[in-house]
Amino acid sequence: MSQSTTASSYNYAYLDEQTKRMIRRALLKAVAIPGYQVPFAGREMPMPYGWGTGGVQVTATVIGPSDTLKVIDQGSDDTTNAVSIRQFFEKTANIDTTEKTKDATVIQTRHRIPEETLTDGQILVYQVPIPEPLRFLEPRETETRKMHALEEYGLMHVKLYEDISRHGHIATTYAYPVKVNDRYVMDPSPTPKFDNPKMDNCAALQLFGAGREKRIYAIPPYTKVQSLDFEDHPFEIQSWDEDCALCGSKDSFLDEVILDDKGNRMFVCSDSDYCQSRRDDSISPPVEHTLAQAAQMQSVNSEASK
């Protein structure tokens, strides 16, 4: 076994070609049956389960030298795990990367869909922790697969109804269940429900990889994706009273940034590329501020208003 101790070089994009073929077969099946969870023989990856091993396997399988990759986590290209995954593909697939949504051919994401509308030919790869939307209603895989097969989704509707009777709202704010192509109920991964409408009739191919749970599913381009709701309680997305403190956006998903221990806070776009390009395109302030400057202004303003 002595030769095994010498450093060996890995295949293009880390996975061996047999594994890629196996994953491609699963992807083809997933695209053919939108929203259906296809079991696949997920491999151990050189990053931990929970860090996006499913998404990384899907990306490694669909990516080629001519692709341009963007990786986001929480909407941002700069979060540590997004940086780490981007570096992994730079190293193993020798690929061009970008932070610009429109320049990317493949976008791997955790917890967000970019604000900018995706276009034909783009692929959005989601990292999925728990692919089964019914899991927290029924922990057994044997049962949930049966429920999907029989299109037995009553339990999910009862859950949503109970939310309304208890809280007055459907108390699901992320991983909000959707029905794909009028057939399978699907977990959109823990994206905020704010992003659900972007999945509907999306021009891009959406691929979902759950590494630990070893499931792949997909939404082909221009497929109907409907968030579950009731006639008298229609689905609605989150909105904020504030605008983005950096770019002034009124219609993007905002992250709350705590400024001090006196309750001062500000809101900024979660999608860092969207925010940056709005600032680049805009002519009027407060666009030229860095986040830190904006924060300072914000706390001065709120001090003054007291």
Partner: protein
Amino acid sequence: MYVAVKGGEKAIKNAHRLLAEKRRGPKEIPELSIAQIKEQLSLSVSRVMAEGSLFDEDLAALAIKQARGDLIEAIFLIRAYRTTLPRLAYSLPIRTDRMTVERRVSATYKDLPGGQILGPTFDYTHRLLDFDLMETGDGNLSEKSEPDTGESQDSKASETEMPRVLGGLLNNEGLIQAEKLPENEEEHPVGDLTREPLEFPVDRDQRLQNLARGDEGFILSLGYSTQRGYARNHAFVGEIRLGTVSIEILPPELGFTIDIGDLEITECETVNQFQGSKTEPPQFTRGYGLVFGQNERKAISMALVDRALRAKEMGEDIVAPAQDEEFVMSHSDNIQATGFVEHIKLPHYVDFQAELGLVRRMREEQQDAHQQQAQPQQAAE
């Protein structure tokens, strides 16, 4: 003052540098060698090989060194390496009845063909710290081993003198259930969880593979739970053996077997109670445990859980976690478990923001409702 989350790249680089420094520790203390870990921390090496599913003592020792002694991290390193290795051949089943035995005990017979061989075990040590080891010392090494009185057998007993307790001795009387073999291995090949996705229900081959790779602590606790009454299947250790077996492959183009190396393994077979049923006469049942290296704790626990998981096959009620294959197999893998448990330290601020918004809104609505309720009352007073 909040500083914008930029510079993740630099932070990662610095974190890795710090980690390397921490791993090495103070420079004035000599660095551990792979040989030292392999030879002197061999039980750690055993565990990493077993749960990493790769028999390579050097790589396991390297992983332990790189992981700063964190065995689950070391197992992870081995797993991530293993998954890239090509499958060159499948070996023939190993023959544990032909094991070169280093230790072999049976708890069911006082004496038996092949004898009881204690071997290198902690079993009868008094757990007193040996302060001699604080300094470099040889501990018990200076004591000469005492010659055998002749009661027990020579430890170099040959294979014919050491039949397996369950397969060889108990089976003679038909007192133990026969192990079912697949009729045709071409049509029913042994499963491999690392190559095929797990789909329930599963067969025993996949369950055993899962248990063999499973976390020692998890399997131990599950095994323990069966002893305390959660699916009790009162077990005797029919036999436990530790030693080396050779691995053979049969290249189709050659038509004869080739010995490609040795494995150190621990094997445990338990004898469990069974009342019999309409179709089966009263007989004992079996549990089976097999792990790489020396690890009796894991081998015994595995046998207990294997027996518990055979509930369906035996027509027993499934009432306890250890009998529930979906529960056991979905949660036994420590690489999966540690990844998912620890991933909640990654950023979740988008989801949290979504929850925050909802909770605030619900609180506002509740407050408004209370105020509206309170106002008419005040008016009435």
